[in-house]
C-alpha cells in the first residue's frame, strides 16, 4: 500500500557533483581528507595581503551576535571572536580557547583554557571572562536569539586557575557543539563589557574578542572593518586588514565583483550563479552548507491530519527535477532531515549518503498520489496555501512545481511570497497546515534539526512515542556512531507517517577573486576566524 523505495543515489550525486567547480572541496568535506586547492585556484604564494574586501548580501544590526543571530551575524562575529571549541572542516570538534576538555560524567564538562589566550586589547582571557560570556549568552534579554542553546547549563564554575567546569541540568550530548562559535559561545571580556555597558555591539562600543582580527570601525548598513593583531594564540595571519561591505542589491554585488572592488562575495544568489560563474576575474566555489529544505505538515489542521493526503503530496513532488532543473544541480536531493555532512565524522562521504538513503522515500508518481488522495477523506481534492520567504526564491520555484503537479490530481495549492519576517509568523500559525522548513544548522550536530522538529511540542503536532524514546536515547548517547543510528531511525519512523518531506540539502556559493585562495573551505569554514585561512594565490 505504501509505495516507499530505498534510495541509493549517493554515488550518482557525487558523480554529478564532480562536474561542479567545487568538486574537490565537496569531496574533501565529505571524505575528511585534507582539503587541497580546488581547480582554478593557484597555490599559496605566501605573500602578505594588505586588504581583503568582502561583500555580504545584508547588514548586521549589531556586532554582538546574541542580539541577532542570523547566519550573516555568525560570519561577521567569527572574524574577531572565539568559543571554547570550534568545528573543523571535517565536522569534528577541535580546540579553540580551550586547549583540551573532558566530559567527566553525563552532565559535567571540564575545559582547560589555553595559557596564551589573549584579547585583542592585550588582556588575558580568564575563566571569569568565559563564565561572564556564558551568562550573557544565556540571558534572553541580552541574547534573545540564542539563549535557548545554553539554557541547559545549570552552573559554570572556575575549578582551577585555567579550568572551567560546566554542569548541565540534564544529560545532553549536543552541548559539546554549543560552546563553539558555531553554537552560541562568543567569548568577550567582562571588563570590556562593563566599560561599554549598553553599547556593546554598536558602532560606538564595537566588540572585543580573542580572535586574530580586532574590529576597528562599524557603520550599520555600510561596512565593518578589521585589523589583524599579534595577540592571537594561532599566530599572525597573512591578511592584514579585512573590510566587510554590506551590499544588499544582487546586481550591485555582481558589478562590484566584476570590477574588482571586492575580492570575495558570500551567498552568491542561485538565480544569478551563471553570471557569477562567467566572470573572468573570479571563481565561484560551492560547498554543502548544512541547510535543509523540506515540507512540513501540521497534523492538527485539516486536511493534513489525514495520512493519505500527506502521502498524496509526498508523491507529487519531483525532487530530481527541482534539484536538477530549478536549482541547476547546486543542491542535493535530501533523503532525510539529517545532512550527510553532520554525520561525516562517523561515516565517510559515500557511506553517510548511503545510510541516509536507507530512510524510506516517496517516489514522484502522480498515479500513486491520485490513489492516495482517493483513499483519503478528501477524494475530490481541496485547497491550501503555502507561503515562502522572499529571500528564498528557490523555495517558491519548488512550490510552484509542486502546485502544478497537485493540480493534476485535483488539489489547488496557492503559492504566496512574503517577506522573511512575515514568513516566520506563518509557521505553526494554526492556519497553514503545509509549509516549508528551511533550516541552516551552524553546528553540525546531526540531532539539531531532528530533535527540534520531531521532538516534544513540535510544530507538526506529531506524537510518536517511539521517536520520543529514540530522541531521549540520542540525547545521552556519547558514542557518535550509535547516536547517528538512533537519529536516522527517528527519520525512518517519521517518513512512514510522512510528517516532514525532505526536499534538498543546500549548498552555499562563495565567489573568490582569482588571486585569493582559502584553506579548509567547507561547510564550517565561516564559523571560525576565516580570514586567517585566506592566502594570496599565484
Amino acid at each position: 500500500m505504501i509505495q516507499l523505495r530505498r534510495f541509493t543515489r549517493g554515488h550518482r550525486l557525487l558523480a554529478a557533483g564532480a562536474a561542479l567547480a567545487a568538486s574537490a572541496l565537496l569531496l574533501s568535506a565529505c571524505t575528511a581528507t585534507p582539503p587541497s586547492a580546488p581547480a582554478g585556484t593557484g597555490v599559496d604564494t605566501g605573500a602578505q595581503i594588505d586588504e581583503v574586501t568582502v561583500a555580504l548580501p545584508g547588514s548586521v544590526s549589531s556586532l554582538y551576535v546574541g542580539q541577532e543571530a542570523g547566519i550573516i551575524n555568525y560570519y561577521v562575529a567569527s572574524v574577531s571572536q572565539e568559543g571554547l571549541v570550534k568545528i573543523a572542516a571535517d565536522g569534528s570538534i577541535q580546540p579553540a580557547l580551550a586547549e583540551s576538555w573532558t566530559q567527566t560524567d553525563a552532565t559535567t564538562f571540564v575545559y582547560q583554557l589555553r595559557e596564551d589566550a589573549t584579547f585583542q586589547d592585550g588582556t588575558p582571557v580568564t575563566v571569569d571572562d568565559v563564565i561572564f560570556s556564558i551568562e550573557k549568552a544565556q540571558d534572553a534579554e541580552v541574547s534573545p536569539n540564542f539563549s535557548w542553546l545554553l539554557a541547559g547549563i545549570e552552573s559554570a564554575e572556575q575549578t582551577a586557575e585555567r579550568e572551567l567546569t560546566i554542569t548541565l541540568a540534564s544529560p545532553s550530548v549536543s552541548f559539546q557543539w554549543a560552546t563553539s562559535t558555531s553554537g552560541a559561545l562568543y567569548v568577550t571580556s567582562r571588563a570590556f563589557w562593563e566599560e561599554n555597558e549598553g553599547k556593546v555591539g554598536t558602532s560606538d562600543g564595537l566588540i572585543l574578542g580573542s580572535g586574530p582580527y580586532k574590529v576597528t570601525e562599524y557603520v550599520p548598513d555600510s561596512f565593518v572593518s578589521f585589523e589583524r593583531v599579534d595577540t592571537w594564540w594561532g599566530g599572525v595571519p597573512t591578511v592584514k586588514s579585512v573590510r566587510i561591505e554590506f551590499i544588499p542589491d544582487d546586481n550591485t554585488r555582481l558589478l562590484a565583483m566584476q570590477s574588482g572592488e571586492v575580492d570575495m562575495a558570500f551567498n552568491v544568489p542561485a538565480a544569478q550563479a551563471a553570471q557569477w560563474e562567467d566572470l573572468d576575474n573570479a571563481a565561484v566555489r560551492y560547498t554543502p552548507d548544512l541547510s535543509y529544505v523540506g515540507l512540513q505538515f501540521d497534523t492538527a489542521i485539516a486536511p493534513f491530519g489525514d495520512e493519505h493526503v500527506r502521502k498524496a503530496i509526498a508523491h507529487s513532488i519531483d525532487r530530481d527535477a527541482v534539484v536538477d532543473k530549478l536549482l541547476r544541480g547546486k543542491a542535493e536531493v535530501a533523503t532525510a532531515l539529517i545532512t550527510p555532512e553532520s554525520i561525516a565524522s562517523v561515516y565517510d562521504g559515500a557511506a553517510a549518503r548511503e545510510a541516509l538513503a536507507a530512510v524510506p522515500q516517496y517516489d514522484f508518481d502522480l498515479d500513486a498520489a491520485a490513489a492516495e488522495l482517493a483513499k483519503s477523506e478528501f477524494p475530490d481534492g481541496f485547497e491550501a496555501e503555502i507561503t515562502y520567504p522572499a529571500s528564498g526564491p528557490q523555495l517558491g520555484q519548488a512550490a510552484q512545481s509542486l502546485a502544478q503537479n497537485l493540480a493534476k490530481i485535483g488539489v489547488t495549492l496557492t503559492v504566496t511570497e512574503v517577506p522573511l519576517e512575515e514568513w516566520y509568523t506563518t509557521l505553526a500559525d494554526g492556519v497553514h497546515g503545509l509549509g516549508f522548513m528551511w533550516y541552516f544548522s551552524t553546528t553540525g550536530d546531526p540531532g539539531e534539526l531532528s530533535s527540534w522538529i520531531l521532538g516534544e511540542g513540535n510544530a507538526s503536532h506529531y506524537e510518536n512515542p517511539e521517536i520520543a524514546a529514540l530522541l531521549a536515547q540520542a540525547a545521552v548517547e556519547t558514542d557518535q556512531a550509535k547516536r547517528a543510528e538512533l537519529l536516522i531511525e527517528t527519520n525512518t519512523l517519521q517518513a512512514a507517517d510522512a510528517i516532514d518531506l525532505p526536499l534538498w540539502w543546500g549548498q552555499s556559493a562563495t565567489a573568490f577573486s582569482n588571486d585569493l585562495g582559502m584553506n579548509d573551505y567547507g561547510p564550517f569554514a565561516f564559523f571560525s576566524p576565516w580570514p586567517a585561512a585566506l592566502y594570496r594565490a599565484g
Binding site: 536569539n145 558602532s203 550599520p220 548598513d221 554590506f246 512574503v418 516566520y424
Partner: protein
C-alpha cells in the same frame, strides 16, 4: 499666522504617529519571532521578551508610553540595533540629506534651464529632443537607471565607485554622484516638464505680447517671463522634493548607502516601532518644513503675495 501653521503641523504629526503605530501593529510579522528566531523558544522566553518591550500592555498603553517618552525628548531605543533612536537617526540622516540635496541641486541646475530653453524654442528639434529625454527619464524606474549608470560609469568607464559612501567630504560627494544622478534623472524629468509648461503659459500671455510691442529687448522679456514662471516651478519643485523619500529607499539599496531609506525599510519589516515612528515623523516634519519654505519663497517671488501678507 505662522504660529497657527505650526500648531496645525503638530496636530498632524500626532495623528500621523497614531496611524503609523496602528498600521505597524496590524501589519503582518511578529517582533518576538524576529528577535527569538523560529527555533526552540520556551513560553517563558517569549513572555520575558514581550515584557521587555512592553508588548504585553494594551495597544493604547503602548502608544501612550511611546508618546510620553517623545514629549520628554526620549525617542526610545531601537529594538533591532539596541542604540538610542535619536543618535541612530542623526547617523543616518546625513547621508540621505546630502544625497537628496545633491540630487535636487543637480535636477534643478540641469532641468530648469532645459525646460525654459525648450519652451523658448517650442516645436523645434531641441524642444522635441528634450521632451523625448524627459519622458524617458520619467518612465525609467530608479533602480534600473541606477544599475545602468553603475554599469556605464563605474564598471565600464571607472569614473565613479560602485557602492558605499567613502571617507571625508570630497570622497563622499564622489561616492554620492551616481546615486544622486539616478534620483535627479527622474526628478529632473518632472521639472523639465513643469518649467516648460509654466514658461510656455507666460510666453503666450498678453503682457509678453505687449512688452514685445513696446520694443523691450529680448533679454528683458526673458527676465519677465522667467520671474513669473518661477512660482509654479517652485511649487512643483517643492512637491517633487517630498516624493524623493520613496526613491531614496530604492537608490540607497542599489548603491549600498547607509541612509534613512534603508533603515526605514528594515525597521518596518522587523517591526522596530520606535525607529519607524521617529523616522516617519522626521520625514513628515521635513515635508512640512519644505511646504513652509515654498510658501515663504512666494513672498520673495511674488510682490502681490508679499503685500497681502504684510497687510494682514
Amino acid at each position: 499666522m505662522l504660529a497657527l501653521r505650526i500648531l496645525g503641523t503638530l496636530a498632524l504629526l500626532i495623528v500621523l504617529s497614531m496611524l503609523i503605530f496602528l498600521l505597524l501593529y496590524l501589519a503582518p510579522g511578529d517582533l518576538v519571532k524576529n528577535l527569538l528566531g523560529i527555533r526552540n523558544t520556551s513560553p517563558e522566553m517569549i513572555a520575558q521578551v514581550r515584557a521587555q518591550y512592553g508588548l504585553d500592555l494594551p495597544l493604547h498603553e503602548q502608544y501612550l508610553a511611546w508618546l510620553g517618552g517623545v514629549v520628554s525628548g526620549d525617542f526610545g531605543t531601537s529594538i533591532r540595533n539596541q542604540t538610542p533612536v535619536g543618535a541612530l537617526l542623526l547617523d543616518r540622516l546625513g547621508v540621505t540629506l546630502l544625497l537628496s540635496g545633491l540630487a535636487f541641486a543637480l535636477a534643478v541646475v540641469v532641468a530648469v534651464p532645459l525646460g525654459a530653453a525648450s519652451a523658448f524654442r517650442q516645436g523645434g528639434a531641441l524642444d522635441r529632443g528634450i521632451s523625448g529625454f524627459s519622458i524617458l527619464g520619467l518612465s525609467a524606474p530608479s533602480f534600473a537607471v541606477g544599475l545602468l549608470l553603475l554599469y556605464v560609469f563605474a564598471v565600464a568607464l571607472r569614473w565613479f565607485p560602485i557602492y558605499g559612501v567613502g571617507d571625508g567630504l570630497a570622497d563622499t560627494l564622489w561616492h554620492l554622484m551616481l546615486p544622486a544622478a539616478t534620483i535627479a534623472i527622474g526628478l529632473g524629468a518632472i521639472l523639465v516638464k513643469l518649467t516648460r509648461t509654466a514658461t510656455l503659459r507666460e510666453l503666450t500671455s498678453d503682457y509678453v505680447t505687449f512688452a514685445r510691442a513696446r520694443g523691450l529687448t529680448r533679454a528683458q522679456v526673458v527676465r519677465l517671463v522667467l520671474r513669473n514662471a518661477a512660482i509654479p516651478v517652485v511649487t512643483g519643485a517643492g512637491l517633487v522634493l517630498t516624493f524623493m523619500v520613496g526613491s531614496t529607499v530604492l537608490v540607497e539599496t542599489v548603491f549600498a548607502l547607509p541612509g534613512v531609506g534603508m533603515l526605514l525599510q528594515e525597521s518596518v519589516l522587523f517591526k522596530d516601532v520606535p525607529v519607524v515612528q521617529a523616522l516617519t515623523l522626521a520625514i513628515a516634519a521635513v515635508i512640512a518644513v519644505i511646504a513652509l519654505a515654498v510658501d515663504l519663497l512666494y513672498l520673495l517671488l511674488d510682490p502681490r503675495v508679499r503685500h497681502r501678507e504684510l497687510a494682514s
